[in-house]
């Protein structure tokens, strides 16, 4: 019962694991490029949660710092990604990731 009542490290880790799973799932299955990118964001945020949780339970600030940087990076990545996706949309008139496979084998 104690596991359920008091929030501990495991809970954070579980959530982050779920986030990771969802993120990967989105990346793997969604057609829309935007959603795929959102999946990537989920993955990064899963890492964030881990860092913060560990930082809390280990003591020390590295985790927090790391999380901050990850947020920044994620923002930058989103910017670049959107630029590329817009370009794709210009050329292909769609953002369907799965349809873009002119180069193969």
């Amino acid at each position: 019962m104690e596991q359920l009542t008091t929030i501990g490290l495991n809970h954070y880790l579980t959530i982050s694991a779920f986030l990771l799973g969802f993120g990967l799932f989105a990346v793997m299955t969604r057609k829309n490029a935007i959603v795929v990118l959102m999946g990537v964001e989920l993955i990064l945020n899963a890492a964030n949660i881990n860092f913060l949780a560990f930082s809390k339970y280990n003591g020390g600030m590295e985790g927090v710092m790391f999380a901050l940087f990850i947020i920044v990076i994620a923002a930058a990545e989103a910017a670049i990604a959107l630029a590329i996706v817009i370009n794709i949309f210009k050329l292909y008139k769609s953002v369907d990731v799965s349809s873009i496979d002119s180069m193969k084998e």
Binding site: L37, I43, F54, I88, I100
Partner: protein, 511 residues
């Protein structure tokens, strides 16, 4: 939970920051160059490509001076262990700057840019930014720095790959590169978080000490290392993390392909070596028996797979760029062989192989560009009869390919020689791996020779015997590269000594 630092501490922090900056000059210089390029792009008017490119060349060349000055400095940590300076890092600093210079040179020769894009401003800026990122990759000693520098390299990489905005293939390459890279780096950072959770450290040296001291839960450790490996593997483009590379290499502008296939691959290797040598103790080494995980046998599998897969799939390629892409996968396998040895000789061999790969691969791509300038195609069939039309280019390409196969008297042969020598000094298991390497190099001969076969043995379809002149400057550069390939194939002592000197890595002493 935190108490504010006292004034004295802050003074100390500032002092050490000041001290560290002295060790950081090349990076700063390059950042300045980066901004300068952007400014020039903004202020200058009209066709400013040459201005930009010349500036980039001079700037990069200038950076070598600062890098050279760092030889005088003692090896050590800076920025609170975020960053290290050692011979290993210096080697890669030279390596990246030189490859950037070559990339610029190659770009200047490529006429496709004139067709595809108006402005080259961001291009050179991005090249320089990528150099900075890669240099930091090679020097970073902290998970955070590793992550940041890798992302810097990746982002610039995405942009460069998609630089031909109106070219669907280029954009497709960018998208694939982006998605794959984002996922891998995400996994990697998740792995970082786990490592941080286990050891409460982000500095790789501290991590190794921590692991040596307390050991670790192997399950989590495996998971973490695997995820990290995913990130690194994606950078070096080894099987099974290679899937992005053929498409990206084919779609990107050829200079970018060359640049990625040499420089960012090398950066990945630098990171791989530093991280695994230093941070994760190898399970097979005597003292840390059950710590960490057996990443060595893992890399063994990856390298064998890369050699076989890359060489074998390349047999079927019709597009020369794609063919070289697969061959670069195979070469990642050969480089991994050197890392497996995990001693000083092995490191030396790996570094030497990187140098040789740098020369010959850039040369090959350079010729590809020159040819596609004239024929507008990278198709194998369009290479028919080119040997007569472009004698020098044909000869040079043949030399580079021979070197890629690893036949004397070329530098590629010496690279393979050193790698295999390093392997043979370690017991029998490694000999079998060396056998695989040998076999696959024989296979590689077949598809490499397909190119001279088309150039010399077959007559071109349209029988116009006019000689195509790729221009004076490119030919001179080509000749220089070719002569270097041959010269270092016969007198390779300087390169090898340099590699030897550079195999000293901070935080671990290899034997």
């Amino acid at each position: 939970m935190f108490e504010l630092p006292s004034g004295a501490e802050i003074q100390g922090i500032i002092a050490s920051l000041k001290a560290s900056v002295g060790f950081f000059i090349p990076e700063i210089y390059l950042s300045v160059l980066f901004m300068l390029l952007i400014v020039i792009d903004l202020v200058a008017k009209g066709r400013k490509n040459n201005l930009l490119s010349i500036t980039t060349l001079l700037g990069l060349a200038g950076s070598t001076v600062f890098i050279y000055q760092q030889h005088a400095l003692p090896a050590g940590e800076l920025f609170f262990g975020m960053y290290v300076l050692d011979e290993f890092a210096l080697f890669f600093k030279y390596f990246f700057v030189l490859s950037a210079i070559l990339a610029v040179v190659v770009t200047m020769a490529d006429e496709q840019f004139d067709r595809e894009v108006k402005s080259m401003g961001e291009y050179y800026a991005l090249i320089v930014a990528m150099v900075i990122g890669m240099i930091m990759m090679a020097s970073s000693a902290d998970l955070l720095m590793i992550f940041l520098s890798m992302e810097l390299v990746s982002f610039t990489g995405y942009l460069l790959a998609g630089y031909f905005k109106r070219n669907p293939r280029s954009s497709e390459a960018a998208l694939k590169y982006l998605v794959y890279g984002a996922v891998s780096s995400g996994l990697m950072v998740y792995g970082f978080s786990l490592i941080y959770g286990i050891t409460a450290q982000t500095n790789i040296i501290k991590i190794s000490l921590e692991l040596a001291a307390h050991g670790s839960d192997s399950l989590v450790m495996i998971l973490a290392t695997l995820l990290v490996l995913a990130g690194f593997g994606y950078k070096i483009g080894a099987v099974p993390f290679h899937f992005w590379s053929p498409d990206v290499y084919e779609g990107s502008p050829t200079p970018v392909t060359a640049y990625l296939s040499v420089a960012s691959k090398a950066a990945g290797f630098a990171l791989l070596m530093r991280f695994f040598y230093v941070a994760i103790p190898h399970g097979a080494l005597p003292p840390e028996d059950k710590l960490g995980m057996d990443w060595l046998s893992l890399l063994m599998i990856f390298s064998v797979a890369s050699m076989i897969y890359g060489n074998v799939v390349a047999l079927w390629q019709k597009n020369v760029k794609r063919l070289l892409a697969y061959s670069s996968i195979a070469h990642a396998g050969y480089l991994l062989l050197g890392i497996l040895v995990m001693d000083q000789f092995g490191t030396q061999a790996t570094l030497f192989y990187l140098l040789s790969y740098f020369i010959m691969n850039f040369g090959a791509f350079y010729v590809v560009i020159l040819i596609s300038n004239k024929t507008g195609s990278e198709n194998l069939d369009d290479y028919r009869g080119l040997g007569k039309k472009m004698p020098l280019a044909g000869a040079a390409l043949t030399v580079f390919l021979i070197s890629l196969v690893g036949l004397p008297p070329t530098v590629g042969f010496i690279g393979k020689l050193m790698i295999f020598s390093a392997l043979l000094t370690k017991g029998s298991l490694y000999i079998w791996i060396a056998l695989v390497g040998i076999m696959t190099s024989v296979i590689s001969l077949y598809y490499y020779m397909l190119i001279p076969l088309n150039m010399y043995l077959r007559e071109s379809k349209q029988p116009d015997e006019k000689v195509m002149n790729p221009g004076m400057a490119p030919q001179i550069i080509l000749a220089i590269l070719m002569i270097l390939t041959l010269y270092f194939g016969l007198f390779f002592t300087p390169l090898s000594d340099f590699a030897k000197y550079s195999s000293a890595m901070f935080g671990i002493t290899l034997h």
